[in-house]
């Protein structure tokens, strides 16, 4: 065997594992941009630029949300506000203010799923504003406050410590 063909065999052997991996994986994915998210979590990654105030949010709320959630966010079945202190009673009332652990969830959910029947309608500013208004209805923001990405991330929700992540408990046991 010539030196060249010995080299070729050696080269082939070295390459073999990755060649096999390539052969088994169709590799049909197309590259896409690197900043996409599938959900906005407590770290706020994926929150867009922009801002909205409680008073701006009130206008959005009255136009798009009031019909299902009621004037103060207390429509039974669709309640957004109230219920503080009710979780350990005979009539627990789970609302944004009484139950939700993170305010970032408000932006993520309104932005993707509301208003019902006309989803993906609101601008980033409008979503910040209506998130601020829902927090105002829960006594978490004052009426002269507003939200942007940093302010939203910094909100400490009343029931932040109310949950135990039992999946992590199970995995570390």
């Amino acid at each position: 065997m010539s030196f060249c063909s010995q080299l070729a065999v050696l080269f082939f052997m070295l390459q073999l594992p990755s060649v096999m991996a390539d052969a088994l994986a169709p590799q049909l994915g197309k590259p896409i941009s690197t900043d996409l998210v599938a959900g906005i979590g407590p770290d706020g990654q994926g929150l867009p630029r922009g801002a909205g105030s409680v008073s701006e949010g009130r206008i959005v709320y009255e136009a798009h949300c009031l019909v299902c959630h009621g004037p103060e966010g207390k429509m039974p079945g669709n309640a957004l506000a109230g219920g503080r202190g009710s979780l350990a009673t005979d009539r627990p009332n789970k609302t944004v203010g009484s139950y939700w652990p993170y305010a970032t969830t408000l932006f993520d959910y309104i932005n993707r799923a509301m208003p019902y029947g006309n989803e993906k309608l609101l601008s980033a500013n409008e979503v910040y504003g209506v998130s601020a208004y829902v927090l105002f209805l829960n006594g978490i923001l004052d009426d002269d406050e507003s939200l942007d990405a940093n302010a939203l991330r910094a909100v400490v929700m009343p029931n932040r410590e109310g949950f135990q992540n039992v999946y992590s408990v199970k995995s570390s046991d």
Binding site: L24, A25, P26, Q27, L28, G29, K30, P31, I32, S33, T34, L36, V37, A38, G39, I40, G41, P42, D43, Q45, C68, L87, A88, D90, R91, P92, K94, V96, Y99, W100, P101, Y102, T104, T105, D108, Y109, R112, A113, Y116, G117, E119, G162, F163, Q164, N165, V166, Y167, S168, S171
Partner: protein
């Protein structure tokens, strides 16, 4: 036999029913039914049930202002075996069924990956696939049995947010590896393409173990209501995790705490605290025959049969009681058990006409045994129960009528 209130050994059932069968055959030979002569119907492009069989999903309930946001249940008491026909698989939609053109749908793998990328439907059809028989159960299944009063409903109306199919798809691990996921990550977020944009966080280790991007259900491409063109399937876990109409999988550190995994699918206890990410469905069983709203026409031998499953592994055994749990007898498990794969259990029972309460109690390979209703509800906050897996009790009245009962 006395002690177990009529529950019998399976061999007794097979011997005991032989005489009945031969009597029927003799009577049948004397008549000439119209279908025994002349041509029948020709072939059809897509089959349908016999005109004598009317099957439908039950308890189709939508929101008063949004009928497309709701659920429908599998009629468990009308089926046998373990697989659910595709037309009868339970549904739960948060914003109706999107009408997705597969040529315009893409699946994105994003977040903490070296090579964020997207795949078309036709691309994914070229990937290596696996097939598994798995249940999907809604976390809110059997909710009615957590209420103070027992509702007189059928097995399917009460427990039918549970179905089973052979799912075929691509191991999610393959696509994550192709994108070069960061092994220091610990969660994913999966997102659907419906108007609700349903999104849930999934532990990365769970996803790497056996989650799949499912493309086929019982052999055919997914139905629209089951996520066409593709859905996530996380075996053994609450149905909401198996995101339908899957469009994005984001690799990340920590869960996103989406609305569904905070506001909704969490378990609130009487002390005001809640468990989050209680993802696995606990061991459970239900007798489907005889069951709620049925009537036993006469005294004699019946086969008691039902379904058992667990999100913690395989079903080990199922015991059946005909006296409300005072005594138990081991049922026969006739189908092949496997992880997250439901089994069909059967046991013969002689009904003498006395009132009885039929119950089944399953145990799984992780050592869990199905609790009584009282045990299952011990710590739960009132009216807010997910993951209810208490024993289902069916009362048989002297008249033969069967109804849901709380003991």
């Amino acid at each position: 036999m006395q002690r177990s209130n009529g529950l019998l050994d399976r061999r007794a059932f097979l011997v005991g029913s032989a005489g009945l069968v031969s009597a029927t055959v003799l009577a049948g030979t004397q008549t000439k039914e119209p279908w025994r002569s002349g041509p029948g119907q020709p072939m059809s492009a897509y089959g349908s049930p016999s005109p004598y069989v009317s099957l439908k999903r039950l308890q189709i309930t939508g929101h008063p202002l949004a009928p497309e946001a709701g659920a429908s249940s599998t009629p468990l008491e009308r089926l046998n075996g373990t697989l659910t026909p595709n037309s009868l698989h339970f549904e739960r939609h948060h914003s109706g069924i999107p009408n997705i053109d597969p040529s315009r749908h893409r699946l994105q793998i994003i977040g903490r990956v070296e090579r964020p990328q997207s795949f078309g439907y036709e691309d994914l059809l070229r990937y290596p696939m696996v097939s598994r028989i798995l249940f999907i159960e809604c976390s809110g299944n059997s909710y009615a049995n957590t209420l103070p009063q027992a509702l007189d409903k059928t097995a399917g109306e009460l427990n039918g947010l549970f179905s089973c199919a052979e799912w075929t798809g691509i191991p999610l691990r393959l696509l994550l590896e192709e994108a070069g996921f960061d092994p220091k990550s610990d969660w994913l977020v999966a997102e659907g393409a419906d108007a609700a944009g349903m999104n849930r966080s999934v532990p990365l280790d769970l996803a790497l173990e056996d989650a799949m991007v499912a493309l086929f259900q019982n052999g055919e491409p997914l139905r629209g209501e089951q996520g066409f063109p593709m859905r996530l399937l996380v075996p053994g876990c609450e149905g909401n995790l198996s995101i339908k109409w899957l469009r994005s999988v984001e690799v990340r550190k920590g869960p996103a705490h989406t609305r569904e995994e905070t506001s909704k699918y969490t378990d609130l206890f009487k002390n005001g605290r809640a468990d989050q990410f209680s993802l696995r469905m606990d061991v459970k069983s239900v007798i489907t025959n005889p069951s709620g709203q049925m009537g036993l026409p006469n005294h004699g031998v019946y086969e008691v049969s039902g379904l058992a499953w667990s999100g913690h592994g395989s079903i080990d055994s199922v015991d059946v009681s005909a006296d409300g749990g005072s005594s138990w007898r081991r049922a026969e498990i006739q189908s092949q058990p496997g992880p997250y794969r439901p089994v069909r259990f059967r046991i013969p029972w002689r009904w003498t006409g006395q009132p009885a309460v039929l119950q089944s109690r399953a145990s799984d390979s992780a050592g869990h045994q199905q609790p009584t209703r009282a045990e299952a509800l011990t710590n739960s906050a009132p009216g807010l129960t997910y993951h209810y897996n208490g024993i289902q009790s069916w009362q048989v009245a002297q008249s033969g009528r069967v109804s849901n009962v709380f003991l």
